[in-house]
């Protein structure tokens, strides 16, 4: 067995790839949570009366955050899909 293959097998057995994916998923979830909080704060600020310039800036920030949340949710869905696929494969291997 070559060294590369050995390391790959060891990583698979120890589930290190999964660990990386799940930590990425965790970071993404944390980020999405923080973005949601930011979104709520801006929405609340927009409900209050503010000058035209501030309202414009807040609306712009809100739009940007919405785009980021949308992108983040899409990525999270992709990661979860990949996870399920791997789990299914593992089950079929064991079965």
């Amino acid at each position: 067995m070559s060294i590369k293959k050995f390391i790959k097998n060891a990583k698979e057995s120890l589930g290190l790839d999964e660990l990386k994916k799940s930590s990425k998923k965790k970071s993404l979830k944390v980020l999405l949570g923080k973005l949601e909080v930011r979104k709520e704060k801006i929405t609340k600020k927009l409900e209050k009366k503010a000058d035209k310039k501030t309202t414009k800036e807040l609306k712009e920030e809100l739009s940007i955050i919405k785009i980021q949340i949308k992108k983040g949710e899409k990525l999270l869905g992709k990661l979860e899909k990949e996870n399920k696929k791997t789990e299914k494969l593992d089950k079929s291997k064991k079965g």
Binding site: I3, K20, S23, K24, S27, L28, L31, K34, L35, R38, K59, E60, E61, S63, I64, I65, I67, Q68, K71, G72, L75
Partner: protein, 606 residues
Amino acid sequence: MLKKILLPTILGILAYGFWISPDFKEIAAGVAIFLFGMLSLEEGFKVFSGGLLEKLLKRSTDKLYKSIGFGVLTTTIMQSSSLVSVLTISFLGAGLIGLTQGIGIIFGANIGTTTGAWLVAGLGLKVKISAYAMPMLVFGVILIFQKAKTLKGIGYVLAGLGFLFLGIHYMKEGFEAFKSTIDLSAFAVEGFKGLFIFTGIGIFATVVMQSSHATLVLIITALAAGQITYENALALAIGANVGTTITAIIGSLSSNIDGKRLAGAHLIFNVVTGLIAIIFIHQIMSAVDYTSTYVGIANDDYTLKLAVFHTIFNLIGVIVMIPFIGKLVSFLESRFGQEIREEDAEYDSIKYLNDSVLELPATALAAIKRETEHLYDNAFEIIAHGLNLKRGNIISSMELDDVIADPYSAKGIDMDEFYTYKIKGIYGGIIDFSTNAQSQMPPEYIEELYQIKLSNRDIVEAIKDTKHLQKNLLKYTISTNENIKKQYDDIRKGLADLLRTIHTIRTTQEYDEIVTLLAKARIHAEQYDVIANGTLDDLIRNNLITNEMATSLMNDSTYAHDISKNLIEMAEVLFIKGDDETMELNEELRITEDDIEQFIEEKGQK
């Protein structure tokens, strides 16, 4: 001159010694094999130390006690305080740690190195370690020939240990055989006179061998064979402790000013510790006797008692010096000031790039990144002044309209002159150093280095574009035509906003804020496209600006767009803090041209 005489003299003395005494030859060969083992061991640990040590450093050196613990642990594992001190100088040179943290690590290394005496006295002399040396050497050398970096590293460590054991074996055998021909203990000198003489010999031997470990093993084996007295062995150990600072001093010669300060701290610490040990030798010896009895070491087991002495006097040194670390740092900072030649005073040059950081790929990379940040600091000044803005205003919470209403100067700055004084030297230095560092870097570092090199190019391009922009900007911001004046003020406002955003990205720890700010910056960069957003058409159609003004605005808005693009790309590489996952996430969440188009469309509909 001294160097020219010293080496042939030492070689001559050794050759004469080999000629008259085969036993001396055996001892010297033992020392040589031991030193070769140290080199091999250091080579092996360097393979693993890069990324791992950098990660450990970040977590383990924020408090002084942690720095000391880090020094103790790494030296105990690597069995080389010299390697730890050279690596610490490298970390310091790269700006990964501060001087106080560096001093903490050196203090810890002095305690960690005492484990070597315990290993040799407790294990090396009581077990036939040459039996372990042979298989280690065989396995080690086989692994050294492997292509895989990790296996090679393990090979060097194994071979290193093998050579260390073999060296100890030869020294032991040599001294045993020596006993039958010459009794070195007849040269023993008693009292304080002997203490000073043997301390001097210890310093000399360590300076020559550049390893206190090797000197200590030599002392322990000689002591075990009864060739030196216990008192003289203690003095030799004190000397070895002082002599070992030479490695750090040599290592610091190629380092920056902080490296030199650290080597100074090492020397002061070891000399003070040595003096304390000499002055209070009888009290420390009593403490050694008491501790030895307490832990069950026989009264005549002088080799282990030497190990106890070595540990106690280094511990005393650390305890005595800890309260003075702040004063030591102030003293070193005032003693080793930055020397600037008069003709160089106006030219800014590299701060973090020196040969000491080349010790590890991770420190070399960190130093290049730091230097690029230094380049950006200067670029920020030039770009701000080129746009006729004040830096203080940009990074304040001042309204942007007020920022652009407060010009830096009436006639603008000479950007070429600024470039020559503040950018050229640093940029050239970074490129030269990166090329040199790249040739010694493993592939996994190359991609990051490439990204940093691109950031350097982005910074320089942004300055050049600002220079192109400056001429018309100065002309039209004082124009009587309010329409063109507004356009150029908008460009200044947009770029001031970007510089402020980058400053926030650099200083904030909140990743969600960074993501939002980067997206905002990318969207704002598109606002300069005066053709696409219809601004130019409106101005021309309504005869609000001349043809000449229109051409200038078209070209200059492209420059403003390019400046923004380059600075955003640079900020994404230099200022996003976090682990690999964060970097990956940033890559995947980066706002694309489609997102921007969608954003602009939605904005238009509203």
